[in-house]
C-alpha cells in the first residue's frame, strides 16, 4: 500500500533464460525470481503446469505407499535427509543444478517403486494395462507442456535445451545401449539368448531421463520446489516409519 508510485512505473525485467548459464535470472524485488509481479495468462499457465508436475509427484508417492515398496530401502532416513537439499531458495548456479538433480532422483526412486505395478481396464474384450510409472510420466509431461505454454515466445526461443546433464543422459543411454547390443550379440552367437531384458532397461533409461528433463522447470521454481520437497519428505518419512514396507 505504501509502495512508491515510481516503483510501479519501473518496467520489470523479463524473466529470460540466460543463454550462458541456463538459469533464470532473479527478478529484483521478487525474492526468488519465480513470482511474477503482474499476473497474466502466461503466469497462470505456468502455475497450472507447476501444480500438475507437483501432482504427478504426489501421485507417484501415494501410489508407491499404496502398492508397497518393490525395492527395499535399508536406510530411508538418508533419502529423507536428502530432501533438505531441496528447501533452500536457490535459483541459479551449481547449487540450483544440484537441487534439480537431487529432486529428480528422489522422485525417480518413488517412480522406480511403482514401475512394476500397472492399472488396466477391458476395452473391446482386450485387457489394456498401463504402468504406473508411465501414468506419472504422463501427468508430469502435461504439467511441463502447460508450463511451456505459459512462457512467452521470446522466453521459449531463448531457453537452452537443458543444462550439462543432457550430455550425461545421452552418454548413459549410449553406454547402456552399446553394451546391450554388443553383449547381446555375443550371447546370441554363443548361447542362443540375449536382448531379452536390454530393451526394457533402455526404455527405463528413457523414462527417467524424460522425468529429469520434464521436472526441471518446476524444480527450478523455488516455491514449487518447496512443495515437492514437502511431498517427498512426507513420503520418505512414511517409508522410514514402515508404511508400504513388506507388502
Amino acid at each position: 500500500m505504501n509502495e512508491p508510485l515510481s516503483s510501479k512505473l519501473v518496467p520489470q525485467p523479463s524473466r529470460l533464460w540466460n543463454g550462458d548459464t541456463g538459469e533464470t535470472p532473479v527478478v529484483p524485488g521478487s525474492g526468488t525470481g519465480e513470482t511474477p509481479v503482474v499476473p497474466d495468462s502466461g503466469g497462470r499457465w505456468r502455475a497450472l503446469g507447476h501444480a500438475c508436475v507437483a501432482g504427478g509427484v504426489l501421485f507417484a508417492c501415494a501410489a508407491s505407499l499404496a502398492c508397497g515398496l518393490t525395492v527395499g530401502l535399508k536406510v530411508p532416513a538418508i533419502l529423507l535427509a536428502g530432501c533438505i537439499v531441496l528447501w533452500p531458495a536457490t535459483v541459479s548456479g551449481p547449487a540450483g543444478t544440484l537441487q534439480r538433480i537431487a529432486g529428480a532422483y528422489l522422485l525417480s526412486v518413488a517412480v522406480n517403486q511403482i514401475a512394476p505395478h500397472a492399472v488396466g481396464c477391458n476395452i473391446l474384450d482386450q485387457r489394456v494395462a498401463v504402468s504406473m510409472s508411465l501414468i506419472t510420466l504422463a501427468i508430469v509431461a502435461l504439467g511441463a507442456a502447460a508450463e511451456r505454454l505459459g512462457r512467452d515466445r521470446r522466453e521459449s526461443a531463448e531457453r537452452p535445451a537443458a543444462d550439462g546433464m543432457r550430455s550425461g543422459w545421452l552418454g548413459a543411454g549410449g553406454l547402456i545401449g552399446g553394451h546391450a547390443l554388443a553383449v547381446g550379440a555375443m550371447l546370441v552367437a554363443v548361447y542362443g539368448y540375449g536382448y531379452e531384458q536390454s530393451a526394457t532397461v533402455l526404455g527405463k533409461v528413457a523414462l527417467f531421463g524424460c522425468l529429469y528433463f520434464l521436472t526441471g522447470g518446476t524444480l527450478q521454481s523455488a516455491g514449487w520446489r518447496r512443495v515437492i520437497c514437502v511431498v517427498l519428505a512426507a513420503y520418505y518419512a512414511a517409508v522410514t516409519c514402515g508404511v508400504g514396507v513388506g507388502r
Binding site: V75, N112, M165, G171, V190
Partner: protein, 431 residues
C-alpha cells in the same frame, strides 16, 4: 552451463581472471605450494598402490594417498575457520558434475544391504575423487605446480612399470608389481602412460623424448590386459592427433605401433596373458568370457533397480542373482569390471548419467584448452593440455575393462580430471 562450470571451463573466463590479475600469491600462495607438494606426494605414493599390505581393508582405507588428501582438506578447513578466509574454501569447489555424482553415490547408501560397507566405499570415493580433485586443481594452477605433478607422475609410472617388469623377470610370471590385480594395474598405467609419454615426447628435448618412448614401450610390455593395452593405444593415438608438430605425431605413432607390435609378437608369459585376455571365449572354446556375461548381468540388474542400484559398493551382493546363464568356468578375476556398468549397477542410472556428465564435460574442457593453446601459440600450454586430454581418453577406454572409481585408482582419475579443467590465473599466461 552453470556459473561454476563457466568459471572452471571457459578459456574466456580464464582470460578474464588473468586480466584481472587476482593476487593469488597473496590470496593463497602458501596453500597452493602445500597443495603442490601434497599432490606430487600423492602421485608418487599412487605407484605403490596398497603395497605392502594389499588386501588389508584398514590399510586400504588409510592408504598414504587418502591420508595426504584428508590432511590437506583438514588443513584448509582449519585455515579457513581460523582466518575466516572464504576464498580458501572457494578454491576447493569442484564442478557440479563431480558433486552430483558424489551426491548420488551418498544417497544410494540408503539401498545398500551392508550399510557399513556402503558408507566406507562412499567415504573413500568422496575423499579421493572430491578431495583429490580439489587438491590437484589447486596444485596445477601454475606451470611450476603442473611441472612438479607431471614429474611425479613420470616417476610413478616408471616405478609401477619397473616394479611389474622386475617381478616378472624375477620369475613371478603373473605378478603386477605393486598391484594385486592386472586389471587395476592396466587401468593405472592406461591413464598414466599416455599422460607421461605425451608430456615427455612433446617436450622438444631428445633425452625426454627417448625417456617417453622407453616408458611407452615398458608400459605396453607390462600390461597384460586388453583394457590396459586399449587405454594406452587410444590415449597415445589421441595425443598423436592433437600434437602440434608432425614430427611429434610421427614419433608418438611410431612408438605406439612398434610397442604394441612387439608386445603381441614377443613370445612370453606377458604376451600370452595379453592374447588370452583379448579372446572373446574362455580357454575351453565353448564358453563366452565371463566378463561379458557379467556385463549382461549388470544390464539385467538395472531392469529392476534402474534408479536405486544395489547401493554404493554393494554390487557383488546382488549381481549373481541377475546372470542370465551361469558360466561354466569361474575364471572371473577381481576388478574384471566395467566401470560404467558398475557405476550404474551400484548407484543407479542417475549415477551413470552423472559419471557420463563428468567425463563428457572434462573432455570438452580439455578440448577447449587444446584449441585455446593452439590459437595463442602457447607451446607449453598445448603440451600440458594434450597430455591431460590423452590421459582422459585412456581413462575412458580403461573404464570399459576395469573401474576408475575404485579406491587406489580413483585418485589418479581425479588428477587427470583436474588437469583437464585447470584454470591458470598467472599473468601473461592465458591457458
Amino acid at each position: 552451463m552453470t556459473v561454476l562450470d563457466s568459471r572452471l571451463e571457459s578459456p574466456q573466463e580464464t582470460l578474464r581472471h588473468a586480466d584481472q590479475g587476482e593476487p593469488l600469491a597473496a590470496r593463497g600462495g602458501g596453500l597452493e605450494r602445500l597443495a603442490t607438494v601434497l599432490a606430487a606426494l600423492v602421485m608418487l605414493c599412487s605407484a605403490l598402490h596398497f603395497w605392502p599390505l594389499e588386501g588389508n581393508k584398514r590399510w586400504e582405507a588409510l592408504a598414504p594417498t587418502n591420508i595426504a588428501v584428508a590432511a590437506w582438506l583438514a588443513g584448509v578447513a582449519m585455515l579457513a575457520i581460523a582466518r575466516r578466509r572464504r576464498s580458501a574454501l572457494r578454491d576447493l569447489l569442484v564442478p557440479p558434475s563431480v558433486l552430483a555424482y558424489l551426491g548420488i553415490v551418498i544417497l544410494s547408501v540408503a539401498f545398500a544391504p551392508d550399510t557399513a560397507r556402503a558408507v566406507s566405499y562412499a567415504g573413500k570415493l568422496v575423499l579421493a575423487l572430491g578431495g583429490g580433485y580439489a587438491l590437484f586443481a589447486l596444485a596445477s594452477r601454475r606451470s611450476r605446480g603442473r611441472r612438479a605433478i607431471m614429474l611425479a607422475a613420470c616417476v610413478a609410472a616408471a616405478v609401477a612399470t619397473a616394479g611389474c617388469l622386475g617381478m616378472r623377470l624375477a620369475g613371478h610370471a603373473d605378478s603386477c608389481g605393486f598391484f594385486g590385480s592386472p586389471h587395476k594395474y592396466g587401468t593405472y598405467v592406461g591413464m598414466l602412460a599416455p599422460l607421461c609419454v605425451t608430456w615427455l615426447i612433446l617436450s622438444g628435448r631428445w633425452p625426454a623424448k627417448l625417456l617417453g618412448a622407453v616408458l611407452a614401450a615398458a608400459g605396453i610390455a607390462s600390461v597384460a590386459t586388453l583394457g590396459g593395452l586399449a587405454a594406452i593405444s587410444v590415449g597415445l593415438a589421441t595425443a598423436a592427433c592433437l600434437a602440434g608438430r608432425w614430427s611429434s605425431r610421427v614419433l608418438i605413432l611410431g612408438v605406439l605401433i612398434v610397442s604394441v607390435g612387439s608386445a603381441l609378437a614377443w613370445p612370453g608369459k606377458s604376451a600370452d596373458g595379453l592374447r588370452r585376455d583379448m579372446a572373446l571365449r574362455e580357454s575351453d572354446g565353448t564358453n563366452l568370457r565371463q566378463r561379458y556375461i557379467q556385463w549382461q548381468a549388470m544390464v539385467n540388474l538395472l531392469q529392476e533397480r534402474t534408479v536405486t542400484g544395489t547401493g554404493a559398493g554393494c554390487l557383488n551382493t546382488y549381481r549373481s542373482e541377475f546372470y542370465g546363464r551361469l558360466p561354466k568356468l569361474n575364471t572371473l578375476a577381481p576388478f574384471d569390471e566395467n566401470g560404467y556398468l558398475a557405476a550404474a549397477a551400484e548407484g543407479g542410472i542417475f549415477a551413470l548419467a552423472c559419471l557420463s556428465w563428468v567425463i563428457v564435460s572434462h573432455l570438452q574442457m580439455g578440448w577447449r584448452r587444446v584449441r585455446a593453446a593452439r590459437r595463442l601459440s602457447d607451446e607449453r600450454g598445448l603440451r600440458d593440455a594434450t597430455a591431460a586430454l590423452a590421459a582422459l581418453a585412456g581413462a575412458c577406454v580403461a573404464n570399459l575393462f576395469s573401474a576408475v572409481q575404485y579406491n587406489g585408482i580413483v585418485i589418479v582419475f581425479a588428477a587427470v580430471l583436474a588437469m583437464n579443467a585447470m584454470v591458470t590465473r598467472e599473468r601473461g599466461q592465458n591457458v
